[in-house]
Symmetry: C2
Subunit: 498 residues, 2 copies
Amino acid sequence: MGSFGLSANNITHGTSFSADLEPKSFSDESKAVIDFIADYYKNIEKYPVQSKVEPGYLSARLTDTAPHSPESLEDILKDVTDCILPGLTHWQSPNFFGYFQANASTAGFLGEMLCSGFNVVGFNWLASPVATELESIVMDWMGKMLKLPSSFLFSGTGGGVLHGSTCESLVCTLAAARDKALEKLGGGFDNITKLVVYASDQTHFALQKSAKLIGIPPANFRPLRTSFSTEFSLSPDTVRAAIEDDIKSGYVPLYLCATVGTTGAGAVDPIEELGKISNEYKLWLHIDAAYAVELADSISLNPHKWFLTNMDCGCLWVKHPRFLVDSLSTKSDIMRNRSPASNTSTNAAPVIDYKDWQIALSRRFKALKLWTVIRKHGYSGLMYHIRSDVSMAKRFEAMVARDERFEIVVPRKFALVCFRLKPKRESEGSELNRKLVDALNGSGRAFLTQAMLGGVYVIRCSIGTTLTQDRHVDDLWKLIQEKADRLLSLQEPEHASR
Amino acid sequence: MGSFGLSANNITHGTSFSADLEPKSFSDESKAVIDFIADYYKNIEKYPVQSKVEPGYLSARLTDTAPHSPESLEDILKDVTDCILPGLTHWQSPNFFGYFQANASTAGFLGEMLCSGFNVVGFNWLASPVATELESIVMDWMGKMLKLPSSFLFSGTGGGVLHGSTCESLVCTLAAARDKALEKLGGGFDNITKLVVYASDQTHFALQKSAKLIGIPPANFRPLRTSFSTEFSLSPDTVRAAIEDDIKSGYVPLYLCATVGTTGAGAVDPIEELGKISNEYKLWLHIDAAYAVELADSISLNPHKWFLTNMDCGCLWVKHPRFLVDSLSTKSDIMRNRSPASNTSTNAAPVIDYKDWQIALSRRFKALKLWTVIRKHGYSGLMYHIRSDVSMAKRFEAMVARDERFEIVVPRKFALVCFRLKPKRESEGSELNRKLVDALNGSGRAFLTQAMLGGVYVIRCSIGTTLTQDRHVDDLWKLIQEKADRLLSLQEPEHASR
């Protein structure tokens, strides 16, 4: 802090800090921003979905040092309009079909405001008891909605925690599995180079990154091959063979990650069979998303994707919270819990210290957001949202299937449709479809992303922003046909000139 | 997702999703929540600072399953009042003097709203170019305000990233240092058990946790002893001796963490001397907070503590971004950047993919929040805020020093005062001061935390919530004297009865 100026000399009375968080100005300025955001949603279809700026555009528009004196909200919002909006790729646009959605909702926004307004740091129970208690209740609510077995619920023998992302859940469960395995093997961390992590080659790269992060040698990561024959899901035989091979070579199988709805193709790994293999070889089984999970050790799912919860909000459930806490807990006098009323240390009492369930010490009161979302939509509303997205994806899939110039590359899973324009020669497939994606995104009227599946370039249409309705899907299909027409008509002369 | 119900049968039309994010209702409901939060700030001094609830209180007040049908905002806010508020420990109360503050501000809240409203996921440049570009600009702004050398700025040869917490910065820099060292040593991860991490015994426990998380054997973590003689700062001689010892035993010194303002006593490690040692032995030097940092490899500082930025917002600067990216980068087709206008892949262009600077893939647009805070307060306003907190801490320190029943245990650092009630017998010091903390926190009129320093139980008074003014500090001191009077008067008879 030192050079930031700790002497009391030369104080410039900028903002009067006694006025900060003052209810009247807080309320007035916040409402001006609300109006600004409401206006943004009103006009959201007018912006090009994918930003059209060039790298480096912003440095030409902003100063290269911070302003010395306070600026007005009006000036700031003017710059948001002039400088920030053009650089956004609009994830909340109803014409955003890229990646997987991050669907915001009014309830998610309201919950986020409450979280930010209270701005408490619930690293342990005492630091704000409700942050811990609401989180454990909401994790059970979510778990019950997903029909998780009671072995993952606090009301059963497990429990759940809100993380910022799946990556964090992977890092924490990998570390827990690692430490449990190392303890069993004896010899401390010397055996870390023997541990092996398994997943399909479709598994989110977050797993590979997380495994390396916790010290698993990159060579001990097994991305097992998948193919069209299983619609890119993991074959149990492949898993078993890899495990047997590793055991013969003196390795120790540690962790298997199975996915329900992979990023590329939406593939669903055969959870039950993988569960049996994991139990047989005593691997930690983590399931990314939640489905038929009895045999798993941990499960993660992101409400900030499909559950109308503004960023960030990820759920992790574990069957044996003890392993997580054993691996991630720390001792500190400052953090010692003390229940004031009973005047007994809660280190003895049955409270959860969520800091021992995650990477960081500090944590936001995200449970308040998820709670607001669940209450404001209800189970029925959330179901309706998901079913309506799936129904729109079916509608889109049917339109694509009816046009013989196109093909559905792998059968639709949930609300993800993987398709492509059929090339005349297979070798031209990638280039043709890359051009189509560029034409679609360059139009500003829609945004889609791509994936390579078994060497085939596919266009992914992921349906699920909060604002997307049937008409947006119909418009998307019209746009795709229009761009395909142009591309195919251009293709002939181009070929002729070669 | 499966059991959540993907068939279109039996759809209950709960919330109409075509109405979600609809500007009018979004605006009306958001403004109702703004009024609620403004009212909370208005009445914040009326609540007991530390929550008085008992463990488990909330499960008696909420249902154990999610509601089936949507509920109204009115009902939800009523439950926030009835169920949530009693369980909060009020971090934004002007009478909160515990831990280190998490000071919210109007500007921080406005920025958080914009971030949450746009709800973009800027994992790479393309996913929302402005999220990346604003972040790199704001990191340079912050770096210049802190007078960091240009070797840590994008305008120089380094760069910065916004993380959620210091822990994340530690994990990422430790992994970068680890992978750089392992590559140099050859032999892959086999040498991981030789790597050693150094810090003082006052260093935040996040470092020990992070080191273990990335696979450094817990036995290779050296929490070097500090004492009253150096005001709990790390002695360079101790560091040098530990490094020499380790080298003789065949270990490889990897990483040294120095702190400016430790959690317990606010101790300031001798950065320049530690920098020289680190350079001599080629250790990665990380500095937690920013001061005299020329010789460091990385620096972290949390605007969500003292810089009026609502949770969460942590800054990390690195001198060689390449090491971070080498350790944390991943390849994925879906994430491939493509600048639409130039139609060239930005893998070749000089854009930053922040996913390779952090643990998770997904990330919020936190730069918008920090940018709003800096602009709305200006450099002068932020300086004023920090200086005014330090000035209040001096005022408090002087009052404590004038009362001979008390002592300042270590000299004040920044805005943290560590003091205690002098015990008659040293063996009674912990119990006496523990009772004082309990009496203070139990009163509901203030909240403080404690630390053990060289075996001495000290009370920490950390000054810096946004709403704290001189009168709150004066009231705190009156309260402390009042509780001390009672405690000391009770003490005699109690001793007599033993």
